[in-house]
């Protein structure tokens, strides 16, 4: 590759570090969904679980930098035995959101999470992934028998007074339509949730999803001429970083790519970054925000 080609990628600068993500569950998951762009599974140890001490180190730095909100993902965050302690520590300094598959949300845990939420002046949000409105549509993606278990988790959260955001990917094609959304709303209302919350996310053609649905094509890349009038402020990498057990990555999407690591500490990662990955194209075209 020549210098000219390298220079042809647009660059995104960090406007402000508002959102700090934690790959708190590593790449370890109790599921192996066929559309997972990080290819998480019970045996994927690319990133390990983060300890409370590791999270604290980044929280201390984040407080000095004025980070606004914290997100926790994996893998499955609740496989981390220190997850509730991590949330307690986080909620002392800012609002937190957890992205979970919902399988480990028994009534006792939900009650403890509700107590954590009540004990903080900041918001605690739970996001539960679901990929269909019945077992026939969900289970082929997330695994046999998962639909019923996810619904149990959602029900337990609601019973504890926590109203989760249900996250659906566009692998469920109808989810992008009003009619499809209404099916999810009906499902949630049938669980006793009268104010259903839904977030639909596009598909990243990486990891397991590249095997399932196909990978990126050569034209799906950003060029310098793609810079919109308002700049790149709509991209989450203009205001977020991702902390893992191995250092700080540019964003939550590229955690499987070693070269997307920007440094060991948040202070290493305040510079700009080239929008040179095919996944950057998805974030731009779809206006992806991983935030709730």
């Amino acid at each position: 590759m020549t210098e000219v080609e390298t220079a042809a990628f647009p660059r995104v600068s960090l406007r402000s570090l508002d959102t700090l993500w934690f790959q708190v569950g590593g790449t370890v998951c109790n599921l192996a969904c066929t559309h997972c762009f990080v290819s998480c599974s019970p045996t994927n140890h690319t990133h390990e679980l983060m300890s409370l001490a590791e999270v604290r180190r980044y929280l201390d730095e984040a407080v000095r930098l004025g980070v606004r909100e914290y997100y926790f993902t994996g893998g499955e965050p609740f496989l981390n035995p220190e997850m509730e302690a991590i949330l307690e520590g986080t909620l002392a300094v800012g609002p937190a959101s957890v992205l979970t598959n919902g399988l480990l949300l028994d009534p006792a845990r939900c009650a403890r999470l509700a107590a954590l939420a009540d004990g903080s002046e900041y918001s605690l949000d739970l996001r539960v992934s679901l990929d269909g409105w019945d077992a026939a549509s969900n289970d082929p993606i997330r695994g046999e028998g998962t639909f019923t278990r996810i619904l149990d988790g959602i029900r337990n959260l609601a019973a504890a007074g926590l109203n989760p955001v249900i996250t659906v990917t566009e692998v469920c094609r109808e989810a992008a339509t009003d009619a499809g959304k209404e099916k999810f709303f009906q499902l949630l209302r049938s669980l006793g949730i009268d104010r259903p919350r839904l977030k639909v996310l596009p598909v990243f053609h990486l990891g397991a999803e590249a095997e399932r649905g196909g990978a990126y094509e050569s034209w799906q890349r950003l060029r310098e001429s793609d810079v919109p009038d308002g700049g790149w402020d709509h991209l989450q990498c203009s205001s977020c970083r991702m902390a893992t057990s191995q250092g700080v990555w540019v964003c939550p999407i590229l955690v499987n790519e070693p070269s997307a690591k920007m440094g060991e500490a948040l202070a290493d990662t305040l510079g700009d970054f080239p929008l040179a990955h095919a996944a950057c194209w998805t974030c731009h075209v779809y206006g992806v925000s991983c935030r709730t």
Partner: protein, 335 residues
């Protein structure tokens, strides 16, 4: 101008999807064949692993103060500050009297004069009569610039639907002179109260349409904002919900709330704020503002504004634009 149906977000999603799949049939590759070499080279050439000196410089520039040439007004010993009129001239008239009764030497408005309520032209004469000093909200910015929408920052289709009705109504009922005047308002002001320097903004010191709710505006974030803006306090509005935080540094952040509609708590009154210089610092009072909400509801119905809006005025509970509420604020909400 006639009412337009909400933008079809599903159609937009379909078009994006069509773009995504349009090239199927061309040569594709599996992930292992994605040209990561180009990515890795671009990253490696970026000099991302900073040396100690450049890291320190990046940190300094990140947390350091910004230059701001906004002139400082005052000093005053007591000021009243309000936001979000939303065409509610009944509440505005009430506020002007109440603020004077409370001894405010000057009254500031943090923007969003229009939207939601009836007859936008009734607002400016009251502002002039009360000597109110205003800044632009996203509404003024959008109307003055002839934008298609209010730039409220909603993503939910239902929220956008009602935001659009309310923007269209105000847009249609504002004279060109009023819109031009809105464009002349400053985007921020600095005011000295006692020995304290206050920054007045609409959404946040960073963006006109950034939502600063209490449960998502943590202390460390606010401290850094105040460091960057070099002030002792900042005042904002935009969310519709009032709050005040005294920070460990002794500085203050106040969301003064809005006078245009109630605070989603089942009460019909609105809110504004009075700030007073005290020896120990700033005294911040969040002030409830009762007004003739029945008269407002009647006028909204005469103007054929959505019954959903009228219900909010009468009941004190929001019926629209709820998606923006964080978990904590939403849990306290009726809808």
């Amino acid at each position: 101008m006639s009412y337009r149906p909400p933008k079809d977000l599903d159609e937009q999603a379909r078009q994006a999807k069509a773009k995504l799949t349009a090239h199927h049939g061309m040569a594709t590759w599996g992930e292992r064949l994605v040209p990561l070499a180009a990515f890795r080279e671009a990253v490696a050439g970026a000099g991302l692993r900073l040396d100690a000196e450049s890291r320190a410089a990046a940190l300094r520039s990140y947390t350091g103060g910004l230059r701001d040439a906004t002139p400082v007004e005052g000093p005053y010993s007591r000021i009243a500050v309000f936001g979000g009129v939303y065409n509610n001239h009944f509440a505005l008239a009430e506020l002007l009297e109440d603020a004077v009764r409370r001894g405010a030497e000057v009254i500031y408005c943090l923007g969003d004069l229009g939207g939601f309520g009836p007859n936008p032209e009734k607002v400016r004469p009251l502002l002039i009569q009360g000597g109110v000093l205003a800044i632009q909200g996203n509404y003024e910015e959008s109307l003055a610039a002839g934008r298609e929408d209010c730039n409220c920052g909603y993503t939910d289709p239902r929220d956008n639907h009602f935001a659009e009705i309310s923007y269209r109504y105000t847009e249609r009922n504002c004279s060109p002179e009023l819109k031009a005047w809105m464009g002349t308002l400053p985007k921020r002001r600095r005011v000295q109260v006692g020995s304290r320097e206050l920054l007045l903004v609409h959404g946040s010191p960073r963006r006109v349409n950034e939502f600063l709710f209490r449960s998502t505006s943590p202390v460390p974030f606010l401290e850094v904002l105040l460091d960057q803006q070099r002030c002792d306090a900042f005042l904002c509005t935009h969310t519709g919900l009032h709050w005040h935080r005294r920070l460990p540094s002794g500085r203050d952040v106040v969301n003064v709330g809005v006078i245009g509609r109630p605070a989603n708590d089942g009460n019909s009154h609105a809110w504004y704020s009075v700030l007073e210089a005290r020896e120990e610092g700033l005294a911040v009072e969040l002030v409830p503002l009762p007004y003739d909400h029945q008269a407002l509801a009647a006028e909204m119905r005469r103007e054929r504004l959505p019954e959903e809006f009228v219900e909010t005025i009468l009941t004190g509970w929001w019926t629209t634009c709820l998606e923006i509420l964080p978990a904590r604020e939403r849990a306290a909400s009726r809808f």
